[in-house]
Amino acid sequence: MSTEEFSVIGKPLAKVDAWEKVVGAARYADDFFLPRMAYAKIRRSDHPHALIKRVDTTRAQALPGVYAVVTGRDFPAVKFGILPVSQDEEALCTDKVRMVGDPIAAVAAVDEETAEKAADLIDVEYEVLPPIMSVEEALAQDKVRIHEYGDGPNIHKAVAFEFGDVEEGFRQADLVREDVFFYQGNTHLPMEQHAAVAQWSPDGKLTLWSSTQTPHYVHRALAKTLQMPPAWIRVIAAPVGGGFGGKTDPFSHEIVVARLAQLTGRPVKIGLTREEVFYCHRGRHPVLMWIKTGVTKNGEILAMHCRSYVDGGAYGSYGVASLLYTGALQTVTYKVPRYKFEGVRAFTNKPPCGPKRGHGTPQPRYALECHLDKVAEQLRLDPAEMRRRIAVDEYTKTANHLTITTCGLRECIDRVVEASGWREKHRKLPYGKGVGFACSSYLTGAGLPIYWNDMPHSGAIVKVDRGGGVAILCGATEIGQGSDSVLTYVVAEQLGIDPKDIRVATADSDLTPVDLGSYSSRVTLMAGHAAAQAAERIRTLLHEAVAKKLEVAPAELVSRGGRVFVKDDPERGVSFAEAAVLGETMHGTLACTGSYTPPKRAGKFKGSGVGPSPCYSYTACVAEVSVDPDTGEVKVDRVWIAHDVGRALNPLLVEGQVEGSVYMGLGEALMEEQVFREGLHKIPSMLEYKSPTTLETPEIYTILVETVDPEGPFGAKEAGQGPLLPVPPAVANAVHDAVGARIDEVPISPEKVARALELKKQGKPARVGPERLPVFKFPEPVKVASAFGEAADPSVKRKTQG
């Protein structure tokens, strides 16, 4: 189907919530003011690792204006956490704190000033324990333990898989190369700081408004931690001012305001400070990586072996999934017939890491793409051509049993090579200027839910009013990425109406069917399918009623341009509003549901649940940089990026997602880092945690490649995360092209580049990066036959040819 056949899909429309965002009318969680509302503040730990000996709230209770003070003892003794296997967080810590910023007590007061003053008046007595601040320390000792669970002392999880005999692959190889990389942790830095408002109704029911990407999981966590029937809890996601994965966990402050509202009989609000957002974190895991690849002289990969040493921080969060993601998607980009992965996630006394845009995959992507650049250099191959040669084929399976549907990677490579003038630039620019290449792939929605169940991942209701207005009710959460818009476009296309005649109500556990949340690039595909199905069902009802009136068969009708009419005789028809009246007359109230469950394609081995997705997006990227050899400063001049999005439901929004990803990737590549000193986050502020400004953002040339995947609604795949992945390695490879320095860790700071150039002057290898790996014995690998090269199962939907 070409775009011309659509009225809404593929058109560069403004977002449905553009006006309210632009004029400042959108009501974020912190904009809620309810009568008699109290303000909450949390007292947080001053120590990275300590036992709580005593919490004395006497002085805080006595402060005028304080309504309530709570400690961990005021909550049911139940822990929570996003993954069922890592229920290790408390609303407020009772016996132990595991990081500076861990919540210990909370206050509700007449205003924020009083609440803050009262929180500081809470006296906490600690027995300080030695902190563990790095994965190396965590793996090196077993005397001090942060948690009592896991796969070993301070080991949250250790995994190992082998798909095919990698040693055999290495034996056959013309070249076997090993490299070590480090990807520093960094955080999401959304513009909006987390906020939540809780209110109890007189009949004992709770409503919580929160800036969350996952209201459904918050709903479950509240029911668990407050020991309440879920039916009495309503969770509403307010418009979210940026999430990027930082608002996908249930948080302490959401549970705390709920309890404080119950105790005080008042609505209670909390708005976190920027510093507290750094403590919520759940951002990029610092990962130390080792990669070994055996290749032919043409660069074809015969075997690959990867190891990840993952610094998890103080809690589990999504960590088990994050760890597995550091090994899951290497095989989805390039042909890897034999593959082995070993990984370990350790606990440390730092804010917990979790999912940040690209969840667990930017780190190994950096390692793999920089590694392949070195392989290409060693084999005297063009890095872009080599990648083109080893790109995966569509409708095949990977070694680790992932099913690839459409793949536009070769076209992406060709398009950026062409647009950037790659062939004229690579290894040909003057000293100080360089270009770098990298590719990537990413999932379009996780194939499995967070908690085990066989229910749909997304549901929607489409309701038609007698006046022709249409309402979409869906659990999907608008976090600025445009999910409300996508739902609108899909339904508008199905019903042939103007998007402006549609209202969207989303992310309200009382009113909208469950959608699992805005994470894993799942919303366009999953909620899109659910809404499309509901709208299709409505259309069927309308066509049936209109067909009767016009005395034609329903199959002869189409809905388009706000009318329902006979396809071969467009004059014969009714307006959409008239169709609604006919429909309601015939069928009663017009409301249909739709839902979506992803195909079950996970391999038959333990740990196979991370990686499967209905389809994968593909990206290729060229970065052009200038490096100042005296200062080591890297300036990114231009970025060309081609992204296989399946189909762009709205090219404007897709380009926005791609540009945003490039920007975020550049921040990770060049400057962002979570660093700690004496157990504290060194720079928990917008000023000192360096994130690029518009001045550091280069020209970005975005190319959209459309492969129209049969798994996606109208052929769409993801766009929100994948385009970040190739950016950091493309920059690193460009720095090498510019000045001959290999910076094998991010951020590529000026001092590292300067140090590498100094080493070069001394005749040493011009490389800065990790030198050694921790000693750790990984578990025996789960051995599974490689599925590489197998055709996708016959059950997999395929593109209709021609």
Binding site: E112, E113, D630, L680, I683, K690, P692, E696, E751
Partner: protein
């Protein structure tokens, strides 16, 4: 969010009124001009004044007066935007326009004043943190504590002078007019500072910096280079101000002043002296840059590492001098350009 502590705001309309108010309220009061640094610091409880004496309403503090040939006079209340965009400043003392234009962000330059930037509180990443963060690590002597966390054995505070404009003014030989209850005085900008992160200004509490007096411009060449991570927002972690005059191709006067490498701007006196009477050759520049870096003693309390900041001092001094000599930035590119 972070909240401001309660305070009383006084709005004098003249300098005389302002200094009297300050004298009346004693140590509980502080002056505030643009407030771009002071208010965030108050939110973090680095300053806890009960009274603020606002200088915004005093018209006599605002504006650039006079001629470059006889010496420009810049009111301390002139915004950084206005300083950076002033035609005479841009033409005759471009380093000052550059420095003012590199402070923070455009919105903050529209609020912040040159007087405020000259007097800005020295910074340290153990100190410019919230009350709760400072409590967690243990308070330092600059506020609420008694030790220096960056140099624990030290009896003094090592917060870093973070003004962009003061090193330039110092290099130009500018003077500052201070008005207090006891009268007024004019001092060289060079003697306005003390090498102490807490007690960093040689100015009485009740004295207001009212004017910056620039010397007459006569064959002056000047430059300012700033090291920081990003093109906006960031305070300097190294500033290099160079001002020199030439006579028949030879250097007549030269001043090199380093910013953000100590608790006050630091003049590289020895290096400046090496230039006098000489031609600005690449070889001399390289030598002078090495000498100029000697007084640069950064510590580990800002962005970027201190060894790197020390190393960059040499690079930046050389680069500033090369620009004034009309040479390309890097010696490696010399032939190419020549």
């Amino acid at each position: 969010m972070m909240r401001l502590p309660p305070f009383t705001y006084l709005a004098p309309l003249s300098v005389g009124e302002a200094v009297r108010m300050m004298a009346d309220h004693g140590p509980e009061a502080m002056f505030v001009a643009g407030g771009t640094d002071l208010y965030p610091n108050m939110k973090r409880r680095q300053f806890e004044p009960k009274v603020l004496v606002g200088l915004r309403g005093i018209r006599e503090l605002v504006g650039v007066r006079g001629e470059a040939t006889t010496g420009l006079v810049i009111g301390a209340g002139t915004t950084l935007t206005d300083v950076s965009e002033h035609p005479a400043v841009r033409e005759h003392v471009p380093a000052l326009a550059v420095a003012a234009g590199l402070v923070s962000t455009p919105p903050l330059r529209n609020m912040g004043t040159i007087g405020g930037n000259v007097c800005v509180d020295p910074r340290c990443n153990y100190y410019n943190q919230s009350y709760q963060w400072r409590r967690a690590i243990g308070f330092c002597m600059k506020k609420d504590g008694d030790i220096c966390l960056v140099a624990p054995g030290s009896s003094r505070c090592w917060a870093v002078s973070s003004t962009d404009t003061a090193p330039v003014l110092w290099s130009l030989g500018a003077r500052a007019r201070l008005v207090g209850v006891g009268g007024e005085r004019v001092v060289p900008v060079a003697s306005l500072f003390k090498d102490d992160g807490i007690d960093y200004l040689a100015k009485a509490r009740d004295e207001v910096l009212t004017e910056i007096l620039l010397p007459p411009v006569d064959g002056l060449r000047c430059a300012y280079l700033k090291l920081r991570r990003r093109g906006s927002f960031d305070f300097p972690v190294l500033g290099v101000a160079v001002a020199l005059s030439l006579d028949g191709g030879r250097v007549k006067t030269a001043k090199i002043v380093l910013g953000a490498v100590a608790s006050q701007p630091r003049e590289a006196v020895e290096a400046g002296a090496l230039l006098v009477g000489e031609r600005l050759t690449p070889a001399l520049i390289a030598e002078v840059a090495g000498v100029a870096a000697r007084p640069s003693k950064p510590l580990d309390n800002t962005d970027l590492t201190h060894p790197y900041r020390k190393k960059m001092t040499k690079v930046f001094v050389a680069r500033a001098l090369r620009r004034l000599a009309g040479l390309p930035d890097s010696p490696e590119n010399e032939e190419e350009v020549a």
